[in-house]
Symmetry: C2
Subunit: 474 residues, 2 copies
């Protein structure tokens, strides 16, 4: 049984895999910092070398240049790699990213963020360990194991690795679409390992993501900022109007006040209701993650449904107003309130924008202000919903059972991973989110970690999934 040999190989060679992760973490491929741009390129080279050494055929695509606050920077390459080209086999596309979030020891890291450290609880600590270098190397570990064992992979494997994920995946989408019927032509299914278990104990498959519609609400009055002593009480102040409007968007307990929003939300079926019954999640995990008991809902089901499958509205900030510490008695002339709505099936971004615009305009008219108001949707990313019944998911679930001896949780996420939707729309193939790390890995925080057991079992899972998916009808 090749899969049994594979699992044994991974178990025995796990230290080699940790060394590979150590080398990768040592390259500070921070895409958001121009000073590290060359490190992002170095990280691409590292992966290209690793893949070539394992016999993969590697190509790159150049996404062009980035305008970074007036500075022109080269974008790191999209790395496309292929292992196996057997027409009799299925072709699985895996996506990952090789850039990382910024990290400075001064931010509060207990150890140097770019030196992988294994602590006494066998946590592999370092920037990018879990997001997303561990999972990317997991796939490479799978290829290495097979090469070393002299085994063929059960599928043709294609890689699509980008270096700008933490900076909005700039330049990726056009390449996905232009390569859809070229490099990606034979792809049968897609697997992305770039999210996390719901909690810390049980693997999951993720089949849904919320979308997000972002709004800018602008109120303009005076030509320039005014002094509140001279003008306070005599003119309509844009901030007063803005706060009046933004206070009418959502209640303190999270109910969206824009009429019509909830009419678009798909009803919860009995079947869906049951999927929330045995999830490996405790309210304490929410409290721990948030650092305070400020939960709106008391039950796990209500909490997770409001994270995953109901919309939410958050106020993010105000552009144009005073934001520094201290006191300043300014009357800002033009303020832009920022808020976003997390969207779910069957909400449509265009309809959401229409409802928001109408409501905010109606409410502004009620204010009888002489200021002017505009509202625009600056970004509308759709939600994404797959099905745990799809063969790609069934295969992954079997792989989880083989490696972990448990059925995976079936989860959705409240955030968005735009590339998921891009692959689905460009390739018209099923996309599976198959996470490696735990919910407490701290992907964008200090002391980011990937437990050794997650890295090793995750590598096993990714390989086993390839065996399982090779057996199903896609």
């Amino acid at each position: 049984m090749p899969v049994v040999k594979f699992l044994e190989y991974v178990e025995e060679h796990q230290n080699d895999f940790v060394e590979r992760l150590r080398k990768a973490v040592a390259i500070p491929s921070v895409s958001g910092d121009p000073a590290h741009r060359q490190d992002v390129f170095r990280m691409a080279d590292f992966l290209i070398d690793e893949l070539k050494a394992l016999g993969a055929s590697v190509e790159t695509r150049d996404p062009g240049q980035q305008d970074f606050h007036g500075q022109t920077l080269p974008l790191p390459p999209i790395v496309l790699a292929t292992v196996g080209n057997d027409p009799a086999k299925k072709t699985i596309l895996v996506y990952g990213h090789y850039d990382v979030q910024p990290a400075l020891i001064e931010d509060g890291w207990a150890t140097d963020p770019f030196t992988l450290v294994e602590d006494d609880q066998h946590r592999l600590i370092g920037r990018g360990s879990t997001d997303d270098k561990g999972p990317v190397l997991g796939w490479i570990n799978v290829v290495e194991a097979h090469k070393k064992m002299g085994l063929e992979l059960p599928v043709n494997l294609k890689f699509c690795l980008e270096g700008m994920e933490e900076s909005g995946s700039e330049g990726l989408d056009p390449i996905i679409y232009s390569e859809a019927d070229k490099y990606f032509r034979d792809v049968d299914a897609v697997c992305i390992s770039d999210n996390y278990w719901l909690g810390t104990t049980k693997p999951c498959l993720t089949y849904g993501l919320r979308g997000v519609s972002y709004f800018h609400l602008t109120v303009k009055g005076p030509r320039a900022d005014l002094h509140s002593g001279v003008f306070g009480g005599t003119v309509h102040e844009p901030m007063t109007d803005l706060f009046a409007l933004m206070s009418k968007l959502v209640t303190p307990d999270g109910k969206i006040l824009v009429p019509g929003i909830y009419d678009q939300v798909r009803q919860v079926t009995d079947e869906e209701q049951k999927t929330y019954d045995h999830l490996a999640f405790k309210m304490e995990e929410l409290h721990d993650a948030v650092g305070n008991k400020i939960n709106i809902h008391e039950s796990i089901r209500d909490t997770l449904q409001h994270r995953w499958r109901f919309p939410s509205l958050s106020l993010h900030g105000v552009e144009g107003a005073f934001y520094n510490p201290g006191d300043k008695t300014v009357v800002p002339a033009r303020v832009v309130g920022k808020f976003s709505i997390r969207t779910v099936p069957d909400m449509e971004p265009e309809k959401v924008t229409e409802l928001v615009k109408k409501y905010v305009t109606d409410e502004f008219n009620k204010l009888n202000s002489k200021n002017s108001m505009t509202i625009e949707c600056t970004h509308g990313g759709n939600h994404w919903l797959s099905s745990p019944q799809h063969p790609n998911y069934v295969a992954a679930a079997k792989a989880v059972e083989k490696v972990f001896s448990v059925k995976p949780d079936l989860t959705r996420e409240g955030g968005s991973i735009p590339v998921t939707l891009s692959f689905q729309e460009a390739l018209k193939k099923n996309v599976l989110l198959l996470p490696m790390g735990r919910g407490d890995d701290g992907a964008h925080s200090i002391n980011e970690k990937l437990d050794r057991s997650n890295y090793v079992s995750g590598t096993k899972l990714l390989g086993t999934y390839l065996y399982e998916v090779s057996q199903v009808q896609l």
Copy 2:
């Protein structure tokens, strides 16, 4: 008649006075920019040299050091100068400041801000021309005129000139209080020329200022900023609570919603009502100043009363939230809303704070939020009200009539000039605000100017005031 000779001298030597202003404007004494701190000291030296050359005895007081965002900077000196020491004469203290607001050509100045330019409408354009170098030099011009004419001043004149007015007058108050019964012991009245005519055509005497109480409203929830995708809809968001609370402070047409605030406001008497009848002010001037027709009130009286003698509440901004251009889907963990109330007789800062705290706390409790809220008054500066019937004002009014052949407008201001209250409280003497510039001088804006006629007539006015005040019983 010495005063007639004086007026003629000023008229004839006005070009010399403009040259003096040119030299002063050329020193970029920006107190808010550490790079210009030495220029503030240079400006002090310039004034000291000018005063000494005219026979004044000059002393300085060192206000010590400033902590500027962690940088320790020396504070520019308080310049104390005396011209005349005749026990038979009254002693008048004049205050002014020799620092200026920042100014960069890139801000939109039509000409270099630190090169005085006289345009074809005889406007003297340059940073500090009207705020407050022109008025300070006005006093020096008066002294020079008398010295050159071989005349004695009708009063003993004392100067108090500071270099940190545009940066909160750091270090000034302790010196005013400690010198009250020393350097300032013999002072009979105080005159400050650091504000503006109501409009552009008619001089005024200013007898009242609003106070200001500044508030920080803090809402805290999560330990750190959260991702709105992951947590939106499941936790109480501090921004939602903050906007709910701040939207309940003031209506779009400027009515303060804090119960009890208006109970403290002194009633308008019939006599006071009449003082609003013939003021040189048009609604167009408000529209021009604001750059838009966003006036709340339609009449001049209502507008000026709401600027001068009714309280107002302005929302200034939010600390801790997203404030940059673009989109960011953050749920801020701790946000501090900033607002202030302009206060008027007979409001007391302590009572205002008490009412605001009670109201905001009551409203927060109604939200049923699990976040925590605190509200504090970070600054409570009292209002100031003098009387146009005071002999110091009567003298100034006579001086205006002599120089301009009109009765001055009797005005108040909506903003605060804290030093006014400090002098009144420390010296227990009447303080008069006697402006030189026009309402459209743009003191803190680009293209700040002082009309040549205002500079020349203003110099005449300051000198004539000294003659008039020497004749009254203080």
